[in-house]
Symmetry: none
Subunit: 549 residues, 2 copies
């Protein structure tokens, strides 16, 4: 070991001190304010799994919850102290100032914050006089005393104290003198940071600029911004606050939070680092942000939002035929950043807008060089257009597109793995079976090994058909044992015709390593499903290097 | 008729002229740029169904597509001219300037714009010199000629011409003199509006403010803003442009669009009207925006985003806890706007009181006075909660909700019209039938007239089942001859489990006068469809005053 090397814990502490000094601190509240999101319910284990991902992202602070008020959060801090080994972030416990008429050391809720052993304590306090009077049912002076006493008490115990000034912006517009006095009181009592909260989320950037500038001019300590997205401006409001002098931003991964959510921390930090040139995350966390975003959504079990800026699955997905030809030549002209900077990828979508250029580009992505083959490209483009007019879509069905492309290629014909003779599926609700419904399917087909007949059951007709098809093929092609149908989507394309409408089915299949998607279309949902099912098997066999047997 | 009354078409034209004069014009591009969204594929029928909803919202312009380039869009304009009766909006056809080295009247694409008969033509043109040289492969002078010639040609034919200056912001930062010359050229040639496009979506509000202010100072005509959300700032960028002098905003409903989407027009207009006090929509469209947002997402079949500002299902949903009691007393202190202004509702997620209140309200809507019946309300609320947890939704299935409610009411029990003994459906692809697939279903049930067995065919298993069910009932209840299944929707609720996922079916039935909707849920699509089908018959018979026979 070199003599200049610092030990692990010392290095971690040093990293934390550096982040604390940073121009703009990054404070994550996914585990506390993010967990207020409708449909989200994080267990202690979930929180303990998310915290290391936030640390890996490189945030300076992780707010873990409200110990004392929420039993699960008390347990989180107890376990976090033992189980978490954070490299960059300091853990923050969220709580309230002491109650009106009480002292902090007598207040059970404040004591629980101390007992959480979190090095950082974030106190929420009212700064809107109307809330003081109507919700706290006390007066402005007493509220200031509660702020001063609680901040001083916790600072005296060696904690870093952050004050979240709740409803600050609405309060400032109502009574700026009082709102400012809350900020000054907290700084005077030793708060490291006072966070101006747009709790109702209704601010617009111009208003944020004005208020933060005025508070900046009137006070000296570090100011923070806590924004919600009710006006669709949470990210812009956060940037406006930083430009006006805030040195601390709060937010949540994926913008989780109550109502419309909090400011999406991933978007905020990407904008600050890539557009303002202000490094706010430790190490190269930003380049991991797409992965971390998705890993956290696996834990929260909230479906990822494809259109999420920077890290969303569609964030760098190009569809327009108009641009495809040029994107090929000059990707930088068509993307606001290089997707690698946030760990994301450019993707080309094939669609009816597609001209030959995007077909060519998509072909290249799939490993087919179509450059210069004008006649072939024209044929494929026409087939794609015809198919899309009939209801097919290749945006989300790369495997079906590849089969279409191969069918047009002279030397890349799709191998013929099996001949279908017939198939049928039925669903039956029989008398005396207490509501039970049976689904069954039979498939008859031929491979080089002979004629195969297989019957499968399932919890629906398509599931039964899937089982029967695999049953008929597995003797000849044991490779398909690894294939699993992992996603099945149905869309009615023309909703004005009841059950006569055209139906599109998208199927995603996995072999445990990769996954691929196929599409089927018809007026009959079973027929459309059959088409997508058989294509998924054919593509899978093809890509496992299987020859027809 | 009063002598001061204007005729329908004259009133419509007057409304359009007023919108054209408005301080800030609202230009919707859901049908064109929104359709670039990954996974979206709008049919002509879809577009014809969405356009009247946009008109109802009160936008000034509806961009319908690119006639000539996309056959479906050519058809849309042809049918729109005959079938749409727009009250507020003018239809705009999107297209490109003439090609380098050609004249507009010789350019097939420009001619298709003219032939679309759209009163407004929006021309996309390059304004970034790098794009001119690398993508168009021509020079700056020729590009200016193409703009001037095409605008002049179309204005000469009496069309309102809007120029979309593509990649304007990037272009302006690269070469402001050239970018400005594109804007000036378009105005000089007669363009009504020049729209500054942040095509890559990478701008931040401060930069937009700066660029739009400079262009505003250097030119005289109406400027517009077209923003994408790649930095998470599309709405803020749009507001910044308006504050800097833009008088025309483009966007899409629900923020649909390529990559991260376009500026969400609903959020933009709500901010402009409710926060800036600038009325931009005709009549009271804003109060309908939640309903219109959801109706459009039913047509696009893109799942609504719960956290969408203003109109999202969670936008005014408060997780009870810290604020619960205070919110009830003083909602204005906890909401940035009154949700009624956008046709949305406050919801309390944990508070049972709020649940009961909305059930009571819903009951009253359907003609059942539940006031004061606390025990009954509690039971119904619990049943609704359990059913929604299982995947049911009653938002769009009033008839199923009424049947649930009646089942809990002492004196309103659902009459028992028939007893199902069994049903089955099968789909078969037989050998030697040249790809033909047969669907058949058999239903066995009892009415007061005896045991009925009926077999039906159809173009799919649900269609066959529908025919068989009607066949079994029509002898006893001839009233159902008037019932017709007019809409059938399927949604996969949990997409992580392939064909094992929970499936929700919504069915709309009409008797030629009224229509009603029912819901069914299950892992088996046929079983879920059967549930919705039988409920649609029961509700229909009930509301035709039929007694069980």
């Amino acid at each position: 070991m070199s003599s200049t090397a610092t030990t692990g814990p010392a290095r971690a502490e040093q990293a934390r001190v550096e982040q604390a000094r940073a121009t703009v601190q990054v404070y994550d509240t996914t585990l506390r304010d993010g967990a207020q999101q409708e449909g989200m319910n994080l267990s202690v284990a979930d929180k303990l799994a998310i915290a290391p991902l936030l640390d890996e992202l490189g945030v300076g602070y992780i707010e873990g919850g409200w110990p004392g008020a929420i039993p699960k959060d008390t347990e989180f801090f107890a376990r976090a102290a033992k189980e978490l080994d954070l490299r960059h972030a300091r853990l923050a416990a969220f709580g309230s100032t002491c109650k009106a008429g009480s002292q902090p050391h007598e207040d059970a809720q404040v004591r629980a914050l101390v007992e959480s052993e979190a090095p950082v304590i974030t106190l929420v306090a009212k700064s809107d006089l109307r809330h003081v009077e109507r919700a706290l049912r006390t007066d402005g002076q007493e509220n200031l005393r509660m702020i001063a006493a609680t901040v001083r008490y916790l600072v005296g115990l060696g904690r870093e104290v952050i004050l979240d000034a709740e409803h600050f912006f609405d309060g400032y517009r109502y009574d700026p003198v009082y709102a400012l006095s809350c900020v000054r009181t907290a700084f005077d009592a030793g708060a490291a940071t006072v966070v101006l909260c747009d709790t109702n989320g209704g601010m617009l950037p111009d208003w944020v600029t004005q208020v933060v500038s005025e508070v900046r001019a009137a006070t000296e300590g570090r100011l923070g911004m806590h924004a919600h997205n009710d006006s669709g401006c949470a990210v812009a409001n956060t940037l406006a606050a930083v430009a006006a002098g805030a040195g601390h931003v709060q937010g949540t991964v994926n913008g989780y939070g109550e109502r419309t959510g909090n400011a999406d921390l991933l978007t905020c930090v990407a904008n600050l680092q890539l557009k303002h040139g202000t490094t706010v995350l430790a190490e190269d966390g930003l380049a991991e942000s797409s992965r971390i975003s998705h890993a956290i959504s696996e834990i929260t079990n909230i479906s990822p939002y494809g259109r999420q800026p920077y890290v969303g699955a569609s964030a760098f997905a190009h569809k327009a035929g108009l641009h495809a030809s040029a994107i090929r030549v000059d990707p930088d002209l068509y993307q606001h950043i290089d997707p690698v900077a946030v760990g994301n990828d450019m993707r080309m979508l094939v669609s009816e807008m597609a001209g030959r250029a995007s077909i060519e580009l998509k072909g290249r992505e799939l490993g087919f060089d179509l450059a210069g083959q004008a006649e072939l490209l024209g044929r494929v483009t026409q087939r794609v257009k015809d198919a899309e007019a009939a209801g097919y879509t290749y945006d989300a069905a790369d495997a079906s597109f590849e089969l279409l492309l191969r069918a047009e290629l002279e030397h890349g014909r799709v191998p013929h793995f099996f001949d279908v003779e017939s198939w049928r599926t039925f669903v039956e609700h029989r008398p005396g079976k207490d509501g039970q419904v049976d689904s069954e399917a039979t498939v008859k087909l031929r491979t080089g090994h002979g004629r195969m007949i297989s019957t499968g059951e399932g919890n629906g007709p398509v599931n039964a058909l899937d089982h029967a098809l695999r049953g008929a093929l597995v003797g000849t092609y044991p490779e398909i044992e690894d294939f699993e149908l992992i996603d099945y989507k149905v869309r009615i394309l023309d909703t004005q015709q009841g059950t006569d409408a055209t139906i599109r089915v998208l199927i995603e299949t996995s072999d445990g390593v990769a996954s691929w998607s196929t599409v089927g279309v018809g007026t009959n949902i079973i027929e459309a499903s059959w088409e997508a099912l058989t294509e998924s098997i054919v593509w899978g066999l093809l890509h496992h290097g299987v020859e027809p047997r």
